[in-house]
């Protein structure tokens, strides 16, 4: 259970960072 939670956290962390960069790209397009 604890390991499954860790998996979710690390997968989410990676995907959130990619999402932030996608948002960053959109922001730069508008700027």
């Amino acid at each position: 259970m604890e390991t499954a939670m860790s998996d979710l956290i690390f997968l989410a962390l990676g995907l959130v960072v990619f999402g932030v960069f996608a948002g960053y790209a959109v922001l730069l397009r508008r700027a």
Binding site: T3, S6, D7, I9, F10, L11, L13, G14, L15, V17, F18, F21, A22, Y24, A25, V26, L28, R29
Partner: protein, 568 residues
């Protein structure tokens, strides 16, 4: 120090340039979609892949679409690799019977291979299965390298464009670069490595009896195929923990020479390809000249520090020799080590044939400094070219301010937007490296991973974050990095260094593509002569390097003086 050593450094560098020129011309043809001699075999495969994945090769992308495609591809790669690493115990080709990696190690490793860093917080022969190595790690050596080269191709198209927005198609670039460049060269190199003694087998291990009669289990992998793309794609991740200091990865002087040349050749070739694709052959030669001059200077510096300085252990023992062999592979000695250290840190490769922690303090400092310059000498495949192009934009801007000329580069006016974006890209490295190092320096869980304290301990931390943010992947050694703190923060650092740089670069490409292409006038600053080469070297050293000087002063430079004081 002797003339043979200097000759070896010069020969290695000359051979790299000699290989890069024709490779660059070929790469340029691949970028432009021109006919190549591999077309009869690979065109049908290429077309088949487009049909399977639903890619329309004629459809161009603007910079934002290109960037989002790259990010989506990298995110999907991250998830896939994470799952392979976590569940390798359930997957085939696991003759060693390895369990899945821990979540934080899987995160670090997945990020590492997706960002072309290949930092390894683990001992490969005790951790990853043959399947993970081949399907997970080696495949990403191809794909992450191809993604970097794709961005360089997009930038070249931007400079060639006249009031356009089409930077090409990311999926087409990824496919063509993998298929026409990385795969065929890797196959040839792998066969060559097998001929030179590098193992290529699915067997888990060989059993041997030592001279004392003890039984020894020697780990085996398909090493030759990994070795080829490891160097060609500036990946650097070892299939064995000792990396290219291991006799199976790098058995002799020939494999050593081939690997040094391979880790720089394709990055330098990207510059020549850029010149061809952007219609700026002379200007590309100037960029290549800057890379070669700085790479030569770095090799010479490491060779000098490893042979001219007093070796502390030997001085303490009263030995009469200047050469410090501590940590170096005896088969290669100081010159081959120096050539390798400069090549692997300049090229964002990260493979090692000696442990950088064991270099003299200034030698280790040079290695760190090369990565801090932004991995542009000649840098990672593709990323070195676009990093140097950013520096060139800043150089023409600074020159324009100094002499009152209109800043323009390759027929494109350089205006406020490009400079702001260039600074966003350039500042990501110091922010990530110095920021994380500062936090780690006052965090007990981070400090617990250090083997040394004082200046050398700082160097170990600083090197780790520098290597991660620069997407280099080499380890200084002396740091126990397989902990939640180090795996997580280094992983974030790798993502920042890769995509925090790459996104503004693609935005610059979009801005450049939209501008009209102007003809050079008497008011244009020539960007191909020795004056510009000197200016660009200055910008690279001052803008890229000076911001790290205080941190270097507290690490390797202080340690250098401590060594001098200790042996006197």
């Amino acid at each position: 120090m002797n003339w043979q050593g200097w000759a070896e450094l010069a020969f290695t560098l000359a051979l790299t340039v000699l290989c890069a020129v024709p490779l660059g011309l070929y790469l340029g043809r691949v970028w432009m979609g021109e006919k190549t001699w591999l077309d009869p075999v690979l065109r049908p495969v290429e077309g088949g892949l487009y049909r399977v994945f639903g890619v329309d090769p004629a459809k161009g992308q603007n910079w934002l679409t290109y960037a989002l495609a790259l990010l989506a591809f990298s995110a999907a790669s991250f998830v896939t690799l994470y799952l392979i690493l976590r569940f390798q115990n359930l997957l085939p080709f696991n003759p060693q019977g390895f369990d899945g990696l821990s979540p934080h190690l899987a995160f670090n490793t997945a990020v590492s291979f997706v960002t072309n860093t290949n930092w390894q917080s683990y001992v490969p022969e005790q951790t990853v299965s043959t399947f993970t190595q081949m399907a997970g790690l080696t495949s990403h050596n191809f794909l992450s390298a191809a993604a970097g080269i794709a961005v360089a191709a997009a930038l070249a198209r931007a400079f060639a464009s006249h009031r356009g927005e089409d930077l090409g198609n990311f999926w087409v670039d990824l496919t063509r670069i993998s298929l026409y460049v990385l795969l065929p060269i890797s196959v040839v190199m792998a066969i060559g490595f097998v001929a030179l003694g590098v193992p290529q087998t699915l067997a888990a291990h060989a059993d041997a009896t030592t001279l004392e009669g003890a039984r020894q289990t020697i780990a085996l992998y398909p090493a030759a195929s990994q070795e080829a793309i490891k160097q060609l794609g500036t990946n650097g991740g070892g299939i064995f923990n000792a990396n290219s200091a291991h006799p199976f990865e790098n058995p002799n002087a020939w494999t050593n020479l081939i690997q040094i040349v391979a880790m720089n050749a394709l990055s330098l070739a990207c510059v020549f390809a850029f010149g061809r694709a952007a219609g700026a052959v002379k200007e590309a030669r100037a960029l290549a000249a800057v890379m070669v001059i700085l790479l030569g200077a770095a090799s010479a510096s490491v060779y000098a520090t490893e042979t001219a300085n007093p070796a502390p252990a030997q001085a303490a023992a009263g030995a009469q020799t200047d050469v410090n062999m501590e940590g170096k592979e005896v088969r290669f000695g100081a010159p081959s080590t120096a050539a390798w250290v400069a090549a692997t840190t300049g090229a964002s490769d990260g493979g090692v044939n000696a442990m950088h922690d064991s270099l003299m303090p200034l030698g280790g400092g040079v290695a760190m400094f090369m990565i801090m310059l932004g991995e542009i000498i000649p840098g990672g495949v593709g990323s070195g070219l676009y990093g140097m192009a950013v520096m060139a934009l800043l150089a023409v801007f600074v020159a324009g301010l100094m002499v009152g000329r209109t800043p323009e580069y390759l027929g494109k006016k350089v205006e406020a937007r490009e400079i702001k974006l260039a600074m966003l890209a350039v500042l990501i490295l110091p922010a990530a490296i110095l920021g994380f190092t500062a936090v780690a320096a006052v965090t007990p869980v981070a400090l617990a991973g250090l083997l040394n304290h004082g200046p050398h301990g700082l160097s170990e931390m600083l090197y780790a974050y520098t290597s991660a943010a620069g997407n280099n992947g080499s380890a200084f050694a002396g740091l126990t990095a397989n902990t939640p703190w180090w795996n997580t923060t280094l992983g974030i650092c790798m993502l920042l260094g890769r995509f925090g740089y790459l996104v503004p670069v693609l935005a610059i490409a979009g801005a450049i593509a939209a501008k009209p292409r102007l003809t050079a006038t008497a008011g244009s600053l020539p960007t191909h002569g020795s004056l510009f080469i000197g200016l660009l070297i200055g910008i690279v050293l001052i803008l890229g390097g000076l911001q790290f000087f205080p941190a270097l002063a507290l690490g390797p430079i202080v340690e250098h003086f401590q060594v001098l004081a200790a042996v006197r």
